[in-house]
Symmetry: C2
């Protein structure tokens, strides 16, 4: 039985210690962690082999096995990832604003760590080192609960990071791993309000919904993206085709891929056959409403649930709309508030779309695939928030911080 109370208490204590380190000290420890990952390549590969054997005996699909599989190169990339995060600007300690109020108090808003961050994830072992180093750099301790598929890899990676911390006189409890993948333990983690300051689920829609509905700890929702591209009546066929092909097919399994194409009725008859040609060549299967079907011989008829499905696959829903207003209404009704794009030459359409679409990222004449912390220039990301509180969109280091007001007085009292 995993003692989550103990893990939580250790994390909280380590957080107090970690909050006092300066940037140089944190970076040195991250460097030690990166070196430790490299130095333990052999052991990590052995642990990963156990995961792969388990995957075989469970008949896991090849594509999933590839996500799971570590190689020397992939382990080197994990170490590089840690080093990259050590080089990012440390947000902690920044005074965002500082002003003198009417009482003569000097008031500053200072960036501080959140404290203890819980991460429940399903995906690849590199999430372990990425999440651990992002939390560490931003002054937070982390409790990781990974999926059972990569259990042995994750467990070994965390023990390598802990050993590096320990050897360098820092609390190994800054990065902890829950070595129990049962649902009971995950549910218990969601109620660890005494110790966890926030819980970030990373994975599929099912995981995220489950965490959101059951957690008593504050949650930052990430990731699910039922994204749309709307092709306006004033738009260029070439640009529209390139953007929809990129957003759908460049990497269909990710959350910023496009799932539904909306197109204005005035260009549908001319554009859709050309777009279909390109998409079919890329292996995309189309599901169209009745109107769009008239122009799309390869499409099968879309069902109601297709409008709300995040396919994450070579499938695209297509719908013809009467107006930009209908497009916006459709998007705001069905989307998951992730990434939305319009293709248009019209100034007023672009502004209307930017203003009225409710999503973390709204694009004019660009692919939705750009919603990404690296692309935005944050250097790295812990996930993409699709909620409105605290952080929205790609979450870099700053999204892992809070603030406190620091106030310098000279004996002031309130009248």
């Amino acid at each position: 039985m995993t003692d989550l109370q103990l893990i939580g208490k250790q994390a909280k204590e380590a957080a107090t210690q970690l909050a006092l380190l300066d940037t140089k000290q944190k970076n040195q420890l991250l460097e030690h962690m990166a070196t430790a990952v490299e130095n333990n390549t052999e052991e990590i590969l052995q642990a990963n082999q156990m995961d792969l054997e388990q995957a075989d005996s469970n008949g896991i699909k090849e594509v999933m096995k590839d996500r799971l599989k570590l190689t020397e190169d992939r382990i080197a990339a994990m170490a590089d990832g840690i080093r990259h995060i050590s080089q990012l600007k440390d947000p902690i300690g920044t005074i965002e604003h500082m002003w003198k109020n009417e009482d003569g108090l000097t008031i500053g808003q200072k960036r501080v760590p959140i404290g203890v961050i819980g991460i429940i994830y399903e995906s690849r072992p590199n999430v372990t080192t990425d999440a651990a180093s992002l939390c560490f750099k931003s002054g937070n301790t982390v409790i990781l609960r990974g999926g059972k598929e990569s259990f042995y890899s994750n467990q070994l990676l965390v023990s390598v990071l802990q050993e590096a911390l320990n050897k360098n006189q820092f609390s190994p409890y800054a990065v902890q791993f829950i070595d129990d993948t049962s649902y009971e333990t995950a549910n218990e983690m969601m109620e660890l309000t005494e110790y966890l300051d926030v819980l970030i689920p990373r994975g599929g829609a099912g995981l995220i919904t489950h965490v959101k509905e059951n957690a008593k700890v504050p949650v930052i929702e990430t990731g699910t993206g039922n994204n749309h591209i709307y092709i306006d009546k004033d738009s260029q066929l070439d640009m529209a085709t390139e953007i929809i092909a990129n957003a759908k097919a460049q990497r269909p399994s990710v959350c910023n891929a496009c799932e539904t194409l909306l197109i204005h009725k005035e260009v549908a008859a001319f554009f859709l056959p050309a777009i279909e040609e390109e998409l079919v060549e890329l292996g995309i299967e189309l599901r169209a409403d009745e109107w769009a079907s008239e122009y799309l011989p390869s499409a099968r008829l879309a069902a109601e649930e297709d409008w709300s499905t995040e396919f994450l696959d070579y499938t695209l829903a297509v719908k013809v709309v009467d107006s930009i207003d209908e497009a916006i209404a459709h998007i705001n009704h069905y989307n998951t508030k992730h990434s939305e794009a319009i293709v248009t030459d019209n100034y007023f359409s672009s502004q209307k779309f930017l203003n009225e679409i409710d999503a973390a990222a709204v694009y004019v004449n660009a692919s939705t695939r750009f919603t990404d912390g690296f692309v935005f220039g944050f250097g790295a990301e812990i996930g993409i928030s699709t909620q409105k509180l605290h952080a929205r969109g790609p979450m870099g280091l700053e999204a892992l911080t809070s603030t406190k007001y620091i106030i310098y007085g000279e004996g002031q009292t309130r009248k």
Copy 2:
């Protein structure tokens, strides 16, 4: 039976409409609301009379009745409050940052409304107009669920605001009131995830804990303040006495009042008797640990629970500490992360305290009573957040906003 689903749906629809208003339009509607409050003074007083009669028959304390009671002046002040909020700078539409990324995309982070805000409150009727106008100005629609003590006043006030909106061709559902003060309805509100973007409880610790533990909607915790003042060994008696007297006695019933005095052992024997004299004159009852009791003839012995009690009354706990480290450890253990102060002449003590205390506001040589949106210069506040996510400390208009990334492209696709 109150139909919360319907109220939620109406609020969501009105939010879409409200998000499209410009600042001038919002300000004009706020002005209409203020005028309507003034024009309905007689009706509001009558409704308030029903609350006062109910209070009488329920044997409510005089001090509580005074909080409940409206007068012509107090109603005029409510209208002025609405006008004041209309004059504050509108945060909506501000582009916080805008930059060009490596792909040539111009990325901006734009401030947008959160959407629908729920407020559960126990306090005075003026919270109704304050909360409604703060939410309105920041582009959010609001669902108010007030306490039963001020039910008739709240209900009438909201109907006055709604009539003003309606008369001016705007959806009255921008400000809604739940005319049912049952616990069942409050609990149902806490689970209204489809429509409520955030829930802000305003009231006592019991209410806030209940909401935090039961809500499925994201919550911003506000208000409870078990605050401390630590008198360092290098400090001035006069300043220490003035600050502690102000923080404890100027208005003991508020969340930024001080509840525990910590004092360094080296000055305890000299300072405490003088401080006691001042505090006793102000009617303060002291509860001291054994050590402090030696210097405080009027004090009774503190019990363990006194260290974690928010007295909100003329009561102060007092403890002698060996060092600033002990003071910081005590505070971080018992505080509610609201407001904490040190009185010191020592530079290093001041920096240590500012760095190591975990609270929304940390003061050097000033009273904790300053933690307040008006005092900080925000013009108004919806509450004081004691959590770390989204907003921390006094919450002005900006704390009622979210952001979205807007991205201007020229046909870019991801490589």
